[in-house]
Structure formats: C-alpha cells, structure tokens
C-alpha cells in the first residue's frame, strides 16, 4: 500500500542551524513528491515539488529512489520557518497520501 512516513513528530533546532525533515515513502511506481507547509493554523501551502527541482525559502529536497526518501533540508534555519511540514506522495493519476506531519520549531 502507498504510504508516507514522517518519523519525527517534533523537531527543534536553533536559529542558524541546519535542519532536515525526514520523509520516506512506499510506492512501487514512479512517485511524485511534495512538501507542504502550514504556518500557525493558516492554510496549507505548497513548498516544493520534486519535479520542479527548485529551492523555495532556502529549502531543498532531493528524491532518492534507492532509499525511497524525499527529505527536506535547509542549511540555516530561521525563526519564521517554524511551522508544520507535510510530505505528500501523488500517484495513480492524482491519488495522494500525506504524511503525519513534522512540527519544526526554530529557537532564537
């Protein structure tokens, strides 16, 4: 079955430190992967999609098919990065599975 796992419910780092939010997926076909962010009860926003290979707000994510991972990274975390982050897998013509989310807290 298709599944997205975000092993960390909570992640706390200091401002300026590197951050990595882990995401592993389970899917035998060609996945399309996304990271969405939710700031403090606001609506969900698209952060990254792997096919575009772009960097948003300093975040990057590389799809590693061998490890079935799509970890989100940022070299220097900022306080405004504090939010809930959701990894999502799209497959089979628009079916989607979301991870349980990781709450990132960036401390001053």
């Amino acid at each position: 079955a298709q599944r997205v796992t975000q092993p960390e419910k909570l992640l706390s780092v200091f401002k300026g430190a590197p951050v990595e939010l882990k995401c592993n997926y389970s899917y035998s076909g060609s996945p399309e992967l996304f990271w969405y962010v939710q700031y403090s009860r606001q609506r969900l926003q698209l952060l990254l999609r792997h096919i575009s290979r772009e960097s948003i707000k300093g975040f990057t994510a590389d799809l590693n098919k061998g490890e079935t991972s799509f970890h989100l990274k940022k070299p220097f975390a900022q306080e405004e990065d504090s939010a809930m982050y959701y990894c999502a897998l799209s497959y089979n013509n628009n079916d989607m599975r979301f991870g349980a989310g990781t709450r990132l807290t960036v401390k001053p």
Partner: protein, 114 residues
C-alpha cells in the same frame, strides 16, 4: 485505523448534478478543512470550519459550495451544480483544538464530472 475517513472514494456525476462528499472523523476533532487538487496542480484550500461555522474560505469556495455537520460527527461538502472544472481530488483534513495539533488527512474523494 485512520483518523478520518472520506466517502465515497470515487464519485462520477453529470454536469449540473449535486454531489455530497463526506468526511467522518474518528473522534474529538474540532477543526475541519476541505482541500482539492485538480489533476497536475497543487493542493488548494477551499474552506475551514470550526465550532459549527465557516472560519475561513477561499475565492474558490463560491455559492456553489456549502459545508455542514448534519449530525454532529459527519462533515460534508456539497457542490450544488457541478461543472466540468470541479473534477478533482477532494481532501478532508481535521485537527483537534490546540495550536500544535497536526492535520490528519483523509484519502480523498475523486470527483469526476462528465
């Protein structure tokens, strides 16, 4: 067991017909959200619902759409007169009270309007 179940998983309807999409939380969730994803596009926010009333809605959520909790547990999204462009995956998300409560997403309803 999933925190939230959506039914049906797939709905095919003719243009102009009304559809009702259902979201059933497992328990004790106060905030409800509907999102949709048109094929190939990003997930878009439709509406949030708290304490039996809409707390926020997007520009997509026009008069054709409505939400309600008919029996205190189910949470429904109704589209009164469907259009071809309403074809999408519709996701319900729920969360408990509290700033740090995560969203729990349903597996979605695939709506196809023909």
């Amino acid at each position: 067991e999933p925190e939230v179940t959506q039914t049906p998983s797939h709905q095919v309807t003719q243009m102009g017909q009304e559809v009702i999409l259902r979201c059933v939380p497992i328990s004790n969730h106060l905030y409800f959200y509907w999102y949709r994803q048109i094929l190939g596009q990003k997930v878009e926010f439709l509406v949030s619902f708290y304490n039996n009333e809409i707390s926020e809605k997007s520009e997509i959520f026009d008069d054709q759409f409505s939400v309600e909790r008919p029996d205190g547990s189910n949470f429904t999204l109704k589209i009164r007169s469907t259009k071809l462009e309403d074809s999408a995956m519709y996701f319900c998300a729920i969360t408990r009270q509290g700033e740090n409560s995560p969203l729990h997403f349903g597996n979605g309803t695939r709506l196809t309007v023909t």
